[in-house]
Symmetry: D3
Subunit: 136 residues, 6 copies
């Protein structure tokens, strides 16, 4: 199995609901350094898992929809705690949708699975991985 990984980041404000979160119930924020992995059993005709340039652009575009936002104000997240693991899934879903509409090129539809990791500090991270719908 081949994997290609690209990295970028985004910075947001949010707060959490629930006693378990302690002081993180207050409005605070985070930098998320994001690793996006594409997995595929074989390479395309040019020797690539995905076009790494386009992968970086798609990641930047997806993170651009979150970057410099107060996630407490995002209608899409109403009723959810935007924990790192929750956000990893959000980014995963948006990347898979981008693959589906061809944003990474037609070859990227051969990508079998994707993993998204959000590093929230030097001591904590969260990720979501799953198969890409309709992967062969």
């Amino acid at each position: 199995m081949y994997t290609v990984t690209v990295r970028d980041h985004f910075m947001i404000a949010h707060s959490f609901k629930g006693e378990a979160f302690g002081p993180a119930q207050r409005l605070h924020g985070a930098t998320y350094v994001v690793d996006l992995e594409f997995r595929r059993p074989g390479l395309d005709a040019e020797g690539m898992v995905v076009d790494i340039g386009r992968a970086g652009e798609v990641l930047r575009a997806v993170l651009g929809g979150l970057n410099y936002h107060n996630l407490d104000d995002e209608p899409a997240f109403t009723g959810h705690n935007t924990t790192s693991e929750f956000l990893a899934r959000v980014v995963f879903d948006r990347i898979v949708a981008a693959i589906g509409r061809g944003a990474l090129g037609p070859g990227a539809r051969a990508v079998e699975s994707v993993r998204v990791t959000l590093h929230e500090s030097h001591v904590a991270s969260a990720s979501f991985e799953g198969r890409v719908n309709g992967a062969p």
Copy 2:
């Protein structure tokens, strides 16, 4: 699959038995920077894999049982070389036991698997991963 990872470290002395270890047969030591990963297919009601605060406390407590010890003097390790991979398994077993007795909260019993990685330097690491007994 969701993953949450927390990092901490411990510092020990030990020596190895066996010619393969060369100069590491002498009493020496190591800093182990530890990554502890919890994996689970879904999130709990609050949007978490585990309570990351409690995860950090449990990891600190488990590593506290090894930190600043000379492992050559630990009865639990008699007859074993305390290699990085062996110690990764030791930490894994103790984390799984902590989950079992509820130290991470009742929700953490839904954790399906755990991975423990010990970084012994900038160029070498070892890990052990396995299912959590009784995971659904």
Copy 3:
């Protein structure tokens, strides 16, 4: 010259005023991974620059005054953009004050200078360094 460095982090929300900040004028947030360096020409009687355990506790206490805060609501920062470089200076001033009141032990008053670095992502950081008032 000897240096000892300890690392910790804090997570805040804030926004910036001024067109130069572009989308960062919106309420967002950041994780700051903080490196705190103490510099001193000689070691104390026990062979230390500072007691590294106490240094970590003091850093944690100082960052605790910022952690999980919305800096836009802090009276101390009214009229200032809480950029990384500005916050590096804030942490510096509070560390120097802690040295002054003996929180790091009497020996720490021999510390000549301090440097505080705030890493806001994997590609950007800021720092402030200066002499400790009254250093010999």
Copy 4:
């Protein structure tokens, strides 16, 4: 499952064929920082996945066959783009061959799978993982 990982690096020149590569069609180069992981369900009699010293030597020898080369001149790669993912597979195949001929010691034949990751920068990497032929 146990894993042991060792790290080393190599530096090469190459160019790519295909419009997708944009300016990377020109002769350029890369440093590849390589993580080599060995996976095995149990430990050997001495408590190891593999002899980490020999693992490092074998990795160095394999990378030595690529280090300071212009890959455009390597007959083995004619007709291929030597992308990071392609090179990860090349290193994988050579490590597996080394295991097969006993370069890592007889015990290393119990290694079940190997993963090779090539970090080409602080924001991009690629890997190949697969089973070791004839693993039990």
Copy 5:
């Protein structure tokens, strides 16, 4: 003293002349991960050392003049070994020139010194630092 640092990278081919370089006399290449530091005793009216967004753009533009090049073919480097330390100076000179012509904004002319670090692998780096001509 305040410092702001931004990171980017470039990838080049080159070879060295001189027996001391051993196999690096062959055509090979490198990824250089670049840290660019700006130092200044005070902040501007908006609380910045430099506009970090513009700093990133200027760094990208300067590295774009080297990225995906075979440095052996660059007339500017004829007769020089393009070692990491030599290239750190090249990047420094071009950044200082960019400051001089106002590419970082008029405020950036208050920058007192600049440091450029090139990381060529996980175990080696080189840097050049100097005052900015005409700094107050």
Copy 6:
């Protein structure tokens, strides 16, 4: 000013004397990841601060005198706590001595200062820097 940095590591056992050290008074150990920096105002005829290959060998040789040792048994350290900052000075002195006897080549005598940093974990490090005796 030019700087070249090389990295290596060593692993030791030791214990500390003095209540300030708490549990670190017990026999334990550490991995020290070492960054060795050479500083020099100009480059040599081949465009180097020092021959980076020789620098790596000299660092390896110096660390080899400590690696896999129990520092409590080293006569050279009797009566001293072998803290990270103390050991940074030890490595510094031995590197400077190596420069003095020509181990880095005659050109290395132009090195003006040296800095040695010992990373003892992901959250703590210590360093010593000083001029090289007899530097021009």
